[in-house]
């Protein structure tokens, strides 16, 4: 029987990690992830998991220890936020290049300076090219469900890649919500036991991992990482299907909301998608055909499927909670690429919002929908990239 609880996003993900019972967890505290790892460390000290907890002196070391543990043949996890993820950056590429299926919840936080501890997507977007799979989560339930599903994707023998599960710092990590937990045994059976591939601790078969590779082979290695990534979509869908059988909850590569007959749409990640859905209902009641697409799998990016889902629209606004200064936001460029592949030509604009935890209110979704209505009525775009809810 599943159990209904009122918990924070951090608490829900910590509980998923307890149910997974990894071999090794190496972590360093950083707001807003601290509370997640503190809870997991309590599970370790209370003997509720068999995990070896390694307290390290930095996130660079946390990821390095996970790489060592995973290369040795263990199931390794960590979690981080914002500057912690930035400090891991070098080792993120080592984890993916060595094809180690490490699981890392990322409690999304802004990057300094100015110093800010609140939620935005600058951290994970900065790591989007690191060869990690990325799943994004709207609320505590999705963060829990994605964490449970993550290892099945990462550890699939066709994949063997590390995976991040993203949720919004504070907005989700520190808010209490209704969450349905699966039974411990159900999760245990779903995740299964870990099958290491070429573990270093198999001393009868000595090998080296991650050695020097000169220009005559490096490109082939990188090509193989892309090949593995290209198989992730199918595995994500298979995993979602199995997950639906144990939970009753349905997941895909992305979620659409009232999109099929829509003329205009908002594309948005994580917690702000929920607020947007409520505003879409208000406009639908007024007869405005507006819908939403919320990516779940951001790396690898499902270009064809997203393009198909959006190609019938007249105008789209992509909202980014991360900026690329002097360029479009990271989600915008993926959406435009997706649509370009379909040969369709809706107008696509970009809004940067919510940086450093600035609240995304229903009012902001209304401003965007009104602008999209204006664009399809007049055919005119004021600015392709603009900022939402900012004091100019």
């Amino acid at each position: 029987m599943s159990k209904v609880v009122a918990v924070t996003g951090n608490e829900a993900v910590a509980n998923a990690l307890r149910q997974i019972n990894p071999d090794v967890c190496a972590a360093y505290p950083i707001t807003p992830q601290t509370d997640l790892m503190q809870r997991f460390a309590s599970f370790v000290s209370d003997g509720l998991v068999d995990t070896e907890m390694i307290l390290v002196e930095s996130e660079h070391s946390a990821m390095s220890a996970c790489v060592g543990a995973a290369a040795g043949g263990g199931r390794a996890v960590t979690a981080t936020s914002g500057p912690g993820l930035a400090l891991m950056w070098e080792i993120l590429f080592v984890a993916s290049g060595m094809r180690l299926p490490i699981l890392m919840p990322v409690v999304n936080r802004s990057l300094s300076a100015p110093l800010n501890i609140h939620g935005d997507h600058s951290d994970a977007m900065g790591a989007r090219d690191s060869g990690w799979i990325q799943l994004w989560s709207e609320n505590a339930q999705e963060a829990y469900d994605n964490t449970v599903q993550a290892l099945l994707i990462a550890e699939h023998m066709d994949i063997r890649l590390p995976i991040m599960v993203c949720m919004d710092g504070f907005i989700i990590s520190h808010s209490i919500e209704r969450v349905e937990y699966l039974d411990d045994d159900v999760v245990k059976n779903f995740v299964g036991s870990y099958k290491p591939l070429n573990p270093l601790l198999d001393i009868k078969h000595p090998k080296s991992i991650g050695p020097l590779i000169l220009p005559d082979l490096y490109l082939e290695y990188k090509r193989m990482q892309h090949e593995a990534m290209s198989k992730v979509k199918d595995v994500v869908l298979q995993t979602a299907e199995s997950f639906q059988k144990i939970s009753g909850r349905k997941y895909g590569l992305f979620e659409t909301y009232r999109l099929d007959d829509a003329e205009i749409a908002i594309v948005i990640l994580n917690s702000a998608a929920g607020t947007t859905k409520d505003v879409i209902d208000i406009y639908r009641n007024k007869g405005i055909k507006v819908g939403l697409l919320k990516p779940r799998l951001f790396r690898p990016f499902p270009y064809e499927e997203v393009g198909e889902a959006l190609k019938h629209l007249k105008a789209i606004c992509v909202l980014d909670r991360a900026d690329s200064f002097g360029a479009f936001g990271p989600l915008y460029t993926e959406i435009v690429s997706s649509i370009y592949l379909t040969k369709s030509q809706p107008i696509v604009i970009n809004k940067i919002y919510g940086l450093g935890g600035r609240d995304y209110m229903p009012e902001h979704a209304k401003i965007v929908i009104e602008e999209l209505i204006d664009i399809i009525n007049t055919g005119k775009v004021r600015l392709y990239k603009d900022y939402l809810g900012v004091r100019e």
Partner: protein, 191 residues
């Protein structure tokens, strides 16, 4: 969206206001409802004004942003009435629950409710001191909110207050808080 009960709490850092919002949300889980409890995070200093929020609904709660138009406003610290506008965004049928020992006419004048707004008072700090010897008004306020909102029964809220203390506290403190919650439920009055 009218079926969502939205609550805003005004308190000061260190008073247990955030915990009160969490306990109330937990108690409202019964009956398959969806709940949210979250504070507004700022610099976390003892004594600084803070806000916390609840949403309670029979449907999935998708909105992830502060409550702008609370149906119920709970003020845990009466001195806040002089420094912030606790009626901000409150709709015409809003209900205020004020922790105060002052004369009801003084409180009513400070709130200055519109025709359909209701003001309730409870001397939660006094109840807390009498029940467990500390000026922590959250338990009586949770009791008062349970009564005024009708969202949860006294039995359920008492069970949840007990659960929220876990095994960390002495029996005397837990019993005192249960008594305080019960008195909050029974003694809250419309003014």
């Amino acid at each position: 969206m009218s079926e969502i009960l939205e609550i805003r709490w005004h308190g000061r850092g260190g008073q247990g206001t955030v915990t009160a919002a969490k306990v109330f949300a937990d108690a409202c889980l019964s009956g398959g409802r969806h709940v949210q409890a979250f504070p507004e995070y700022g610099p976390e200093r003892a004594g600084a004004p803070l806000r916390a929020y609840n949403r309670i609904s029979s449907h999935e709660l998708r909105m992830h942003c502060p409550v702008l138009n609370p149906k119920i406003v709970v003020v845990a610290d009466p001195t806040l009435l002089d420094s912030i506008n606790v009626t901000e965004g409150a709709p015409d049928d809003a209900i205020f629950i004020i922790n105060s020992s002052k004369d009801p006419s003084i409180i009513k004048a400070k709130i200055n409710p519109t025709k359909n707004q209701k003001v309730f008072m409870i001397d939660a700090t006094k109840i807390a001191i009498e029940c467990f010897g500390r000026p922590m008004p959250n338990s009586p306020l949770v009791g008062a909110l349970a009564k005024v909102s009708g969202a949860v029964t006294l039995e359920t809220i008492l069970e949840d207050v007990k659960k929220s203390f876990g095994k960390k506290f002495a029996k005397k403190i837990i019993d005192g808080n249960l008594e305080a919650t019960k008195r909050g439920y029974e003694e809250v009055k419309e003014i």
